[in-house]
């Protein structure tokens, strides 16, 4: 119960970002909009669940609506958009809370979970405006937010708080579209690639329907609005009139200050969407970090790892206990069919974090350097420190003293040196 209360409270507090552009509108209207949105969201989430497609479509529309509002200076439009979008924002934030509280209520068989989440919501909203309100009033909100900025800012806030996986969904949709389009275009030109007959442009075909290109398009589409809006703001010419000297300089300084205020919203949108894209990229390309398992010691001289454990080309980690120390080894089947066996540390980075496996490479978790799989077993730079081994029938055989020698040499390194 405490958990759901804290989640509701935290979400309501995060909602201060949604209230930020609303400092210029009437407080009562703002509270009405926010509370209506939040309560409707909670109820619809609890009884109907979350409609992800509709949520993404609306968040998408709010975000890209900013492109159509460039140049619109009406304060009435700005205030209306702030009020409506803030209500929408709270609706979506609390729709997920409503769905979560229903699942929690069913799991814990406690029907009062819903009311706990409502309590968290009210306390959060109640705390937000008084605390943040004073800070907001100190900011030149009227100069920071225009109709365009409100739409862009709130769209980015919604993406950041509640629709971070929108980038994943978008990337998946773009990839499907590109796959379908490329296949149909190549088929219409009667040059579809073949499985084993070399055909023209087969490399281009694979590139165009790959996930790299779709990720590039996702990034371009998502980052286009803040960049374009910022460019449009800076395209406005500096004021020129007949004033001279100090008066002219004063007018110019006001103009430039206003530009800086206007830039806040696109820069915030750019950064928050960038974080969302990064989260999507990590989700699409997660690092596989296996839990090390104790290595089987045959005798005090050698230890063996069955080669069959590596056939799936997934990274494996093993622990050897040397006195009070743990030596972690990694083993992986390389694409060229050979085994890569090394310590789970490199010559440069501090030991402890080890390596994870990405697509076609290992990654040093400390410095995030990708290491090609075919280079595992070769000593250099950020590569894991190789360990000598032999293949005996169906086993990888490692001499204990060789392992300890390599480990001691690694520990003696002042990181940055060489064995």
């Amino acid at each position: 119960m405490l958990e759901i209360f804290l989640i509701s409270l935290w979400r309501a507090l995060l909602g201060f970002l949604i209230i930020l552009p609303c400092a210029t509108i009437d407080r009562r209207k703002l509270y009405l909009s926010v509370l209506t949105g939040a309560i409707l969201g909670l109820i619809s989430g609890y009884y109907l669940g979350v409609f992800l497609e509709i949520k993404y479509l609306i968040v998408f529309s709010v975000y890209y609506c900013s492109l159509f509002l460039i140049g619109k200076t009406s304060t009435y439009l700005r205030d209306t958009l702030s009020g409506v979008f803030s209500g929408l924002g709270y609706f979506f934030i609390f729709q997920s809370i409503g769905a979560l509280s229903k699942d929690t209520a069913l799991l814990k068989e406690n029907p009062y979970i819903f009311f706990i989440s409502v309590l968290g919501l009210f306390i959060g909203i109640g705390l937000t405006y008084p605390i943040v309100g004073r800070i907001i009033r100190a900011l030149p909100i009227e100069k920071i937010f225009s109709a365009t900025s409100v739409s862009l800012f709130l769209g980015a806030v919604l993406i950041f708080i509640d629709a971070r996986d929108m980038a994943i969904v978008m990337e998946s949709g773009i990839r499907q579209f590109l796959e379908g389009l490329v296949r149909e275009v190549f088929s219409s030109m009667i040059i579809s690639p073949h499985e084993f007959i070399k055909t023209p442009l087969s490399g281009l075909f694979e590139f165009l329907r790959g996930d790299r290109l779709s990720m590039v398009f996702t990034v371009v589409i998502l980052l286009f609005p803040p960049i374009y809006i910022l460019m449009r703001f800076y395209q406005v010419p500096e004021p020129s009139d007949n004033s001279k000297g100090a008066q002219k300089r004063l007018r110019l300084s006001f103009f430039r200050k206003d530009l800086i205020y206007l830039s806040v919203s696109p820069i915030f949108a750019f950064l928050s969407v960038l974080i969302s894209i990064h989260t999507a990229n990590l989700a699409l390309n997660p690092l596989y970090e296996p839990t090390p398992i104790p290595i089987k010691i045959e005798d005090s001289v050698s230890m063996k790892i069955p080669t069959t454990e590596l056939i799936d080309e997934r990274l494996r980690k093993y622990i050897f206990f040397y006195g009070d120390k743990k030596i972690t080894l990694l083993a992986v089947m390389r694409p060229d069919g050979n085994v890569g066996l090394a310590l789970d540390e490199c010559e440069i980075c501090p030991p402890g974090k080890g390596y994870g496996q990405g697509k076609g490479h290992l990654v040093c978790i400390y410095c995030m350097t990708p290491i090609p799989l075919n280079s595992i077993g070769s000593p250099s730079g950020c590569n894991p420190i190789p360990i000598p081994f032999k293949i005996e029938e169906d086993f990888i055989s490692i001499q204990v003293d060789a392992l300890i020698r390599v480990f001691k040499a690694s520990r003696a390194l002042k990181r940055g040196g060489h064995i």
Binding site: G173, E195, F196, K198, P335, G337, V339
Partner: protein, 283 residues
């Protein structure tokens, strides 16, 4: 971009998002509303060339717009009127397609005499040429570029082995899709039985983690499993085969293909000369 083009583009995107079926693009191009929006979008892109004065600096924009419009309209026509047939080409045989007699004179395939499959090594053919006589004309058809003959286009799209399968007291000739080596081909026999067949490697190697198979493609040996209608295995074992190939020949009749190619060419040309726009003198 003009507003109508933008609005039509947004409608197309929404149509795509909510389209059903496996192939959303074809779904849009075959639905009446989708066709109307698609055509209007193409026309609005084309009409954009009349905005502003013509000049060399507008060449990239004109080329791109004309290319996109031409491609889109030709693609739509192609989707609706294209007729595609796939024919089995066996050396020395004849076939009649679209009223034309095709005589398959010779098949030239660079299948090696032996193939050693190791790790990620892949089976790739660079040559699969069909020499055919169509209405008295001698044509060389390959898998690289489709060959045009009037409104028909020909292209080799597959290679396999022709197997003589024992059936009762006789033999049945059947195309076997057994490439790349290791692939299983399933053949339905006249009595309803099924035959699963694949190339049998001559030797298998294993050294440590590495394993490889050597296929003799000069002296073909298959491994065949005969199954009854109910899936029960009747017989299985080795089967000797001949090094006789067949090709899958794709024949496409479509008057719009030429315009598809022209549209693509104009788009690529427009992209290449696009930097020309930045050289235009500022007003």
């Amino acid at each position: 971009m003009k507003k109508p083009t933008l609005i039509l583009g947004i409608i197309l995107i929404l149509l795509y998002m909510f389209a059903g079926g496996d192939n959303k693009i074809l779904y849009i191009l075959k639905s009446p509303f989708g066709i109307v929006v698609y055509l209007l979008f193409s026309v609005s892109i084309f009409l954009g060339i009349f905005k502003g004065r013509f000049g060399i600096y507008r060449l990239p924009s004109i080329s791109l717009r004309v290319g996109v419009a031409l491609f889109m309209i030709a693609f739509l026509i192609s989707v609706h009127i294209r007729d595609t047939k796939e024919v089995l080409a066996i050396e020395g045989r004849k076939s009649i397609l679209y009223g034309k007699e095709i005589f398959f004179k010779k098949i030239d395939v660079d299948v090696p005499d032996e193939f050693f499959e190791v790790g990620e090594a892949s089976f790739t053919l660079k040559k699969a040429i069909l020499e055919a006589e169509i209405d008295g004309k001698n044509l060389y058809i390959d898998p690289v570029v489709p060959l045009r003959d009037g409104l028909s286009y020909y292209r080799v799209v597959g290679v396999g082995l022709l197997g003589n399968l024992p059936y009762g007291n006789d033999y049945i000739e059947s195309p076997l899709e057994v490439f790349p080596p290791g692939r299983r081909s399933e053949v339905r026999l006249p009595g309803g039985e099924r035959l699963t067949i694949n190339l049998l490697p001559e030797k298998e190697f294993k050294k440590g983690l590495l394993s490889g198979k050597l296929y003799n493609l000069k002296k073909i040996t298959y491994y065949a499993v005969f199954k009854g209608e109910d899936g029960r295995i009747i017989k299985e074992g080795k089967l000797e085969g001949d090094r006789r190939f067949f090709l899958n020949l794709l024949v496409v009749k479509d008057p719009a293909i030429l315009f598809i190619y022209e549209g693509i060419f104009l788009i690529i040309f427009g992209i290449i000369i696009y930097p020309l726009r930045f050289l235009s003198p500022k007003p």
